[in-house]
């Protein structure tokens, strides 16, 4: 499988980027971290807009930077697309001319994305003859994405492309981004500080902290690691990919299935068999050592096994427990509960899930 390899070390007056990446060159890789953690600088290094001394970067076998060999391909000779936080449409050109700016400069044999495809995916056919200032910010950002795609990039870099938009606009554009990843099969590196966007889009996650890439891997794994919740804040939890197993319209519920377990969520307008990614916050999972004999109001009970117990810090009242429910599941319980239950790795427990967040609701 082709990979994206990169190694950067860039010193700035008040900041140092130290990143080492080995990522699948497919699907969406989200770069997540607090503001000031170096996400944007990392992206600019990947693009070649910043040049890291002793840096290295290769994309699917094509070397774009190898300072040891004195190689650095300037950004305008790289087949990449960049979408910034602001659309930055060229105000002196029409929408049509903006879209074609990169296309005109792309050699015929490198073109693999057609204007028709892009117009169709982004739903922008009615905007073609307008001027940029006549468009809403959301429409402008769609044109900016289309313009980047038409230069037939082998790698699409997106730097918080939705950050300047309000909530409804975000929900309007997210499906377009999902579609282009699936239909055009472009590897995307997506910088964001919004966990919701990441859950909806990403397959792979790179966690940044104070200029360093501290963890990278499949999103489900990263989210359920016990040493990272600190960086995820109160969004720590597990990401579970499920399928729709059935509907119970009389109760307004949809039943999801994953690894032999099932979850009830509010009724979803989805067909049976369709995939749905859910996010189960650690703080919404309670544990019991044995199944309760009396019925309780919590519908979602999953049988699981304790795999790891997080270190119980003296100054915190809670502790994170990692479970195996066919897939990793994270629970956050008090230290007192941990003592009362006497949990040890390998033990069978029952996880009561009080709430499930669906990726589609967010944005």
């Amino acid at each position: 499988m082709s990979r994206l390899l990169a190694r950067f070390d860039l010193a700035r007056p008040e900041f140092r980027l130290q990143a080492q990446l080995d990522l699948p060159a497919q699907g969406v890789t989200a770069v997540f971290g607090r503001s000031g953690s170096g996400k944007t600088t990392l992206l600019r290094c990947l693009a070649g807009l910043e040049r890291s001394p002793a840096g290295f970067m290769s994309m699917g076998g094509t070397v774009w930077q190898d300072e040891e060999q004195g190689a650095f391909i300037p950004v305008y000779r790289r087949a990449l697309g960049m979408v910034f936080q602001e659309p930055h449409l060229f105000s002196h050109l029409s929408v049509h001319a903006n879209l074609h700016y990169g296309l005109k400069r792309t050699p015929q044999h490198e073109r693999y994305i057609s204007t028709e495809q892009v117009i169709d995916i982004l739903g922008i056919s009615h905007l073609m003859d307008r001027r940029p200032h006549q468009l809403s910010l959301g429409e402008q950002q769609r044109i900016a994405i289309g313009r980047a795609l038409l230069a037939s990039p082998r790698l699409l870099l997106m730097d918080e492309p939705l950050a300047s938009l309000d909530r409804p606009r975000k929900q309007e554009i997210l499906p377009f981004i999902q579609r282009l990843c699936v239909e055009l099969k472009i590897p995307v590196v997506y910088v964001s500080h919004s966990i919701q966007e990441i859950l909806q889009l990403a397959d792979t996650l790179v966690l940044m902290n104070e200029g360093a890439s501290i963890a990278a891997g499949p999103i489900q794994e990263i989210f359920s690691r016990l040493d990272l919740p600190h960086y995820l804040g109160d969004m720590a939890g597990s990401v579970v990919d499920t399928r729709v197993a059935g509907h119970e319209p009389e109760y307004g519920l949809t039943r999801l299935e994953f690894h032999g377990s099932q979850l009830y969520v509010p009724l979803q307008p989805l067909n049976i068999g369709q995939p749905l990614r859910v996010h189960i916050l650690a703080r919404n999972v309670s544990l019991a050592a044995a199944p309760l004999s009396e019925p309780i109001s919590v519908l979602n009970v999953i049988e699981a096994r304790v795999t790891e117990i997080g270190s119980a810090l003296e100054d915190r009242h809670s502790v994170d427990i990692r479970l195996d429910a066919g897939c990793p599941l994270l629970a956050s319980i008090t230290r007192k509960s941990l003592a009362m239950l006497g949990l040890v790795p390998g033990q069978r427990v029952y996880a009561y899930i009080k709430a499930v967040s669906l990726s589609q609701e967010w944005g």
């Binding site: 807009l49 305008y76 960049m82 930055h88 060229f90 400069r105 313009r147």
Partner: protein
């Protein structure tokens, strides 16, 4: 209007201003671009040199140009003849004299564009020169208009430098400002009135047009 009125100086002035402005836009573009983008310590020095014609008496500028362009001067020696008291000499002098009036509006316009539109263009496979020509210059259109008008009108109005470098040769270096000076000297107030009035009206109309145009195109504010 007097039948024997001589339009030669007016025509020469317009020709000088047009040639100077065109050349200045070409010369000033890279200078203004460099000033807007560089972090070099030389920047302040270059800015100071460019602004010098604003503060120097035109006679000082003219004096040095006379030495530079004369038969013994480096430029004169290079071309094998004298450039003083010729139209070409006037163009060179005018370029230096009007340089700050063209560089500064362009400098401001380039700075206002910022880095992002250019980085965007580079990421769309445009080389730096390509991005400069197809993004920076069009986005600085208002700056170019202001620069062209200021350069043109300022050249039209110059007197001291022209007198020092060009003298007063009809058809060659006798521009409108010199002709007016001559007419006043010889008490030909009718001609002086006419020429001065023409220049006054022309300058007002052009400047008015620029200010109206600048106000009317908000689309170019990105």
């Amino acid at each position: 209007m007097l039948p024997e009125f001589d339009f030669g100086p007016l025509w020469l002035s317009l020709r000088l201003a047009a040639v100077t402005t065109l050349l200045l836009l070409v010369v000033a573009s890279p200078v203004a671009w460099w000033l807007a983008r560089t972090r070099s310590p030389m920047r302040a020095a270059v800015e100071a040199v460019v602004a010098m014609p604003l503060v120097l008496p035109p006679t000082v500028l003219g004096f040095y140009l006379l030495l530079l362009l004369g038969p013994q001067g480096p430029l004169g020696a290079l071309t094998g003849s004298t450039l003083t008291f010729t139209f070409s000499g006037l163009v060179i002098a005018s370029i230096l004299y009007s340089l700050p009036f063209v560089v500064q509006p362009l400098h401001n316009a380039f700075e206002a564009i910022g880095r992002k539109p250019l980085e965007t263009a580079w990421c769309l496979r445009a080389s730096p020169l390509d991005a400069f020509l197809t993004v920076a210059i069009p986005q600085a259109a208002r700056g170019y208009l202001t620069a062209a008008v200021l350069g043109f009108t300022h050249t039209l109005g110059e007197f001291g430098v022209v007198l020092m470098v060009g003298g007063n040769i009809p058809g060659q270096t006798r521009v409108i400002s010199i002709a007016i000076y001559d007419q006043v000297e010889t008490l030909d107030y009718t001609s002086a009135h006419l020429m001065s009035g023409l220049l006054l009206g022309f300058s007002f109309v052009v400047l008015l047009a620029v200010y109206i145009l600048n106000r009317r195109s908000p689309a170019h504010r990105s």
